[in-house]
């Protein structure tokens, strides 16, 4: 304990979030994270609540990207099915909250949306990992699951496809989904406009810190070991099947949370959220940002969506696609590790220049 108190306060606060499994553990990294969060928090004040409301979806999709980074970057499970959990949670929220009116329904919708997505991920994960399905076959099964949902939801246009008051709506989607809120009966708080933005931001920052702590914990070490060499990890006595199952389920829960935030943002969801283009977007964000970097994925998700929005014309997809090819060929691990290497290189050089006073035993970066 006494050794602990010798360390500066900022290091003690940071301790649970730092470790060898994450890219970026230096003062500079955390300073830029704090700056980033501050800028995002100031955004509604600077640009007004309308801009915040329309940008909220960037944060929601960033959360979806993070759900993939967690399972792919840290446990080696590439899933094209994050959108399946995302969409299932969205539809569940819609069905529950449209049927049960008042704040009770919305609160119940949030809980059941995330719960159904989690259970769905757990079921699928159990089916795959305990059945010996691995590597690229996991990827293909998850892609097929998303496409089955896409096909299924697409044909639910008829009036027989309604659950209580909620019509599924086929390709036109489900409309009239209520705003995000929490409460019981007629008393509660509604989060619309800029408030939705802040809820999404809080969810994103909370997830970021939570996952940093998780991947640097004992469980995180086991996840990374499973990614690096599954057979060897199993030889050491770890139940790698369970590790993959649990990781996949947590990833599904996070995707479900972002699905609930998505459907309350637009008050609307349609089957295109399950389609192959949508299914690939999280993979694109994670690949470009760096699949082993949560912060990198968040930055890439926000940046790519912003670019797509700016290039509203027909060339948007051409540019995004070319960017993807270029980044993977030039930087196979994404942008974040490159930035880390650059920062390390620059600090080393600065230290060499002022080498009369050797630096303390403090590590510069990870």
């Amino acid at each position: 304990m006494s050794a602990d108190t010798d360390r500066p306060l900022r290091k003690r606060i940071r301790a649970p979030f730092d470790g060898p499994n994450t890219i970026g553990n230096s003062d500079g990294f955390w300073l830029s994270v704090a700056l980033g969060v501050l800028l995002l928090a100031l955004y509604p004040l600077l640009f007004g609540s309308y801009a915040a409301e329309s940008s909220s979806v960037f944060l929601v999709y960033a959360l979806l990207g993070v759900s993939l980074t967690f399972i792919w970057g840290f446990c080696g499970i590439l899933s094209f099915g994050q959108v399946a959990f995302f969409g299932v949670a969205g539809y569940t929220f819609g069905i529950v909250s449209i049927n049960v009116s008042s704040y009770t329904g919305v609160t119940l919708g949030i809980v059941s949306g995330v719960a159904v997505a989690t259970l769905f991920a757990a079921g699928l994960g159990y089916f795959m990992f305990y059945g010996g399905v691995r590597d690229v076959y996991v990827t293909i099964i998850t892609l097929v699951v998303a496409l089955v949902l896409n096909t299924f939801m697409g044909q639910t246009a008829g009036s027989e496809w309604a659950i209580g008051e909620a019509a599924l709506g086929g390709f036109n989607g489900m409309v009239g989904v209520p705003n995000l809120a929490i409460g019981v009966g007629e008393t509660g708080v509604e989060f619309d406009g800029a408030m939705h933005y802040y809820v999404a931001l809080a969810a994103l920052v909370g997830t970021f810190l939570g996952l940093r702590a998780l991947v640097n914990s004992q469980f995180g070490y086991a996840m990374v070991a499973t990614r690096e060499d599954e057979t060897r990890t199993e030889m050491f006595g770890y139940n790698t099947t369970f590790i993959k199952f649990l990781t996949f389920t947590i990833g599904g829960a996070l995707a479900g949370l972002s699905g609930v935030l998505f459907v309350t943002w637009g008050n609307y969801i349609d089957p295109s959220e399950f389609a192959i283009t949508a299914a690939s977007m999280p993979v694109i964000w994670a690949s470009i940002g760096g699949r082993e970097s949560i912060a990198g994925t968040i930055a890439a998700a926000i940046a790519i969506q912003w670019i797509e929005l700016q290039l509203t014309g027909e060339w948007a997809l051409v540019i995004v696609g070319s960017l993807l090819v270029f980044v993977i060929l030039v930087m196979p691990d994404g942008v974040a590790p490159q930035v880390r290497d650059l920062v390390v290189f620059l600090t080393e050089r600065r230290r060499e220049r002022s080498s009369e006073t050797p630096a303390a035993a403090e590590e510069v970066s990870d």
């Binding site: 590439l78 089916f127 795959m128 059945g131 010996g132 399905v133 691995r134 590597d135 690229v136 076959y137 990827t139 293909i140 099964i141 892609l143 097929v144 699951v145 496409l147 089955v148 096909t151 299924f152 044909q155 192959i276 283009t277 690939s280 993979v283 694109i284 690949s287 027909e314 060339w315 948007a316 997809l317 051409v318 995004v320 696609g321 070319s322 960017l323 993807l324 090819v325 993977i328 060929l329 196979p332």
Partner: protein
């Protein structure tokens, strides 16, 4: 009883149709994924290139067979260019190849949309129909099943009976050894990829008169192709017809009972269950059975 026999004939045609579709959608991908370890998510766009090149040259005045040839040639050239510039860096990088080819697919679909809009006038389906009772079935679609079988047979001969086939398979199995025995492995990769592209182009050319021409037509081939490759297993030349047979049967039976949508869902669910039960596909199962028999003998 004539009604029942018509029904049966209906089912048979439906089966031939699904079988041809699955096999033709799969062969190009099976060569590139099964043999080279490149997950080509742009496979559908290779088919798109073949279909568009065929349709455009037909409208430019070429007779249909020549237009189809043009489609195949265009796709092969397209594939060779991609292999030389991009794909060659991705051998042995399974997941990266998936992400990169997805990027290629986005670009190609969008470029086609920018250049030719959301649809092209479709070539009329040739050969007319076969009539029986109150039903009739497109003769061209039955012909496709024949073509699928011919393509499979030709590939089998090419990869097992010819010198080229032996060199190509040796390269895919053990590049180092093949190279030390004097095989130009770089050229083998290029030519195998070219064959895969040509087959995708052929699929596009053959389906040009049978599907609506739109920039996203590739997606309708992609899923079936992946599912069939995975269900078929590691030995692609044998796995493709077997998977095509199994999935075609499921698709035809359920489509007959409940319509197109039920057929597709049944096919996809069968695939999920098949992957779960047979992680190494049908040919993996056959291999296991053969091993066991050898042990008991």
């Amino acid at each position: 009883m004539p009604v029942d026999s018509y029904e049966l004939l209906n089912l048979a045609f439906q089966f031939l149709d699904s079988f041809a579709f699955i096999v033709l959608a799969t062969v190009g991908l099976a060569i590139i994924f099964g043999m080279m370890g490149i997950i080509n998510l742009a496979h559908g766009e290779f088919i798109l290139v073949g279909a568009y090149a065929t349709t455009l040259s037909f409208h430019a005045g070429l007779p249909l067979p020549l237009a189809m040839l043009a489609g195949v040639v265009a796709t092969t050239v397209f594939g060779v260019i991609l292999e030389r510039t991009i794909i060659r860096w991705l051998y042995g990088r399974l997941l990266d190849s998936m992400v990169v080819t997805f990027g290629i697919s986005l670009v190609v679909v969008q470029l086609v949309r920018i250049q030719w809009g959301n649809s092209l006038p479709q070539i009329g389906t040739p050969l007319g129909g076969i009539s029986y009772g109150n039903y009739s079935y497109s003769a061209y679609r039955v012909l496709l099943a024949g073509v699928a079988i011919v393509v499979l047979a030709a590939l089998y001969v090419l990869f097992t009976k010819t010198d080229f086939g032996v060199r190509a398979r040796a390269t895919m199995q053990d590049e180092e050894t093949a190279r030390s025995m004097g095989v130009d492995t770089d050229r083998m990769y290029l030519s195998t990829f070219a064959i895969g592209s040509a087959l995708a182009g052929l699929t596009g050319a053959l389906y040009a008169p049978a599907t609506p021409m739109s920039p996203d037509l590739g997606a309708s081939f992609l899923v079936e192709a992946f599912v069939a490759v995975v269900v078929g297993g590691p030995s692609v030349l044998l796995g493709t017809p077997l998977a095509g047979g199994l999935l075609g049967l499921v698709d035809a039976a359920f489509t007959n009972v409940g319509g197109q949508f039920i057929g597709t869902v049944a096919l996809l669910l069968t695939a999920i269950v098949a992957i779960r039960l047979l992680p190494d596909g049908i040919t993996g199962l056959l291999e296991d059975i053969r091993e066991k028999r050898r042990e008991t003998e």
